[in-house]
């Protein structure tokens, strides 16, 4: 035990929006632009927090609830996932399902809020979001199940520390790369990054996640942005930890390594976004089915 687990939670909560800055810098670098400052997301959130919100008369409590749920879910998820070699704040048997369905709950409330506005446009976005997440969810769960089977643990923190200690890795050298590939696709899909969704576009034909939050403003929008930053942080730190399960001699080195691997995953997201085009809407289910199949292959191999 190097330092108390609430430190990494505090660091995560403070540093999560920074990842978006890194992604945008990488994208700007590829395009030959200077790009927005690394802390742009913080400025945006602070600006939105100082604004009041306008609510349509057709909306109900659901509409106001959903941004809060997405932030609350993000905070809870950060607590279940350890960063680097730290312990996680909350950890119990089977919390991989908690993690998967926390995000499911956040999505559910977002979808309800989108339907609540009564706009046909947002309903369309909600329908797409639900369709794609229905395909991304099995990929995520089966991928985690494969890792769980490999390590014999059923909590996120347990799985990750078992990978570090190298227990039960008889087939790890095959299962882990396949799982990482699958989880990376899930990361891109769940955080509406480019091959699935374009976070920058406001073109109605291609929007998925952006559509659903069109009617939120001010503080609510700030909460939604912050929630999505936390979500990206959680996914990126899981993948970073699976990829770099090394424990260094001192806690400082551990922290440095964790930060470096987290940044590497983020930069990879940025590179994917800069070098790939967004997939056609019809091709997205095929990509996500592919991710599920990758997880399934990992699971079957882990069973042997």
């Amino acid at each position: 035990m190097n330092h108390p687990p609430y430190i990494h939670v505090a660091v995560s909560l403070a540093a999560a929006p920074f990842l978006f800055g890194v992604i945008n810098k990488v994208k700007a670098g590829f395009a030959g632009r200077k790009g927005p400052p690394l802390f742009q997301m913080y400025y945006d959130i602070v600006k939105l927090m100082r604004k009041g919100a306008v609510y349509s008369r057709t909306t109900t409590e659901m509409f106001r609830l959903s941004p809060l749920v997405s932030v609350a879910v993000g905070i809870l998820a950060v607590m279940t996932v350890p960063l680097g070699q730290t312990e996680s704040l909350i950890s119990f048997h089977g919390d991989i399902f908690l993690l998967a369905y926390l995000f499911g709950m956040a999505r559910f409330t977002t979808v309800l809020a989108a339907m609540d506005t009564g706009s046909a446009f947002e309903g369309m976005g909600a329908s797409r979001e639900v369709q794609f997440s229905m395909l991304a969810e099995p990929a995520f769960l089966v991928g985690l199940a494969a890792l769980s089977l490999l390590t014999g643990e059923s909590s996120v923190a347990g799985i990750l520390s078992a990978l570090r200690n190298g227990t039960g890795t008889a087939t790890g050298h095959v299962v882990i790369p396949i799982c990482v590939a699958s989880l990376f696709i899930v990361l891109l899909a769940e955080n509406s990054r480019i091959p699935v969704d374009d976070p920058n576009t406001h073109l109605e034909l291609t929007m998925i996640h952006e559509v659903m939050v069109l009617d939120h403003g001010g503080m609510d929008l700030g909460f939604i942005h912050y929630g999505s930053a936390l979500k990206l942080w959680v996914f990126a730190s899981i993948i970073a930890r699976i990829l770099v399960p090394v424990k260094m001699s001192s806690p400082m080195l551990d922290a440095a390594l964790a930060t470096a691997s987290l940044l590497a995953v983020t930069v990879a997201v940025g590179v994917v976004e800069s070098t790939m085009a967004r997939l056609r809407m019809l091709r997205v289910p095929q990509l996500l089915t592919g991710a599920t199949i990758l997880s399934l292959v990992a699971l079957i191999i882990a069973m042997r």
Partner: protein, 211 residues
Amino acid sequence: MNEWLDLAVALLILSNFMLVNTSRLMSCIRIVAIQAVILSVIALLSHLHALDVRLVVLVIITVALKALVLPQVLKRVTVGTGVERELSPFVGYSLSLMAGGGLLALSFLMSHFLTVPEPGLSRFFLPASLFTIFTGLFIIIARKKAVTQVMGYMAMENGIYAFGVSLAIHEPFIVEISVLLDVFVAVLIMGVAIFHISHEFDHIDTDQLSV
């Protein structure tokens, strides 16, 4: 060494999924060629302790034939017929992927009841070779274009080769060479036939030929 073998076998499994998932004929041809290379690497890796001339010659012939000559023949046929993609297969691509998942589970189940005589080989090798055979069969059933069906035939042959490596290591040289010759002749004849079919009927849909 065993780790690399396992990784190569995992690549073989994943290449089958790519084959099932892609609609472009050129990528299909490339994937089948890559499969042949992976198989040769597996054959070499699993016999590193006892490399002999026979095996090396066989691997060289296999790679030359399956990864260079046959893809070239099929590429010419594809360009000649002007068919670039399999647009409306019997089974769609997402569904094909799921079917592939089912086939993978089936082949792992089946290999539970079979025992491998050679203990040095990867544990996944037998199911992977069964899976390659099944994938080839599936493609023959699920696709309409004659070129894609030939691709399925070649994938199936790759699977049989893998099965041979995993079960009957010491089969005589002459058998393996003659199997290779069979495949070569078969693909050549199919290529010529497809070319003539496309000239005669303006398409290579086997679905329309059967009416």
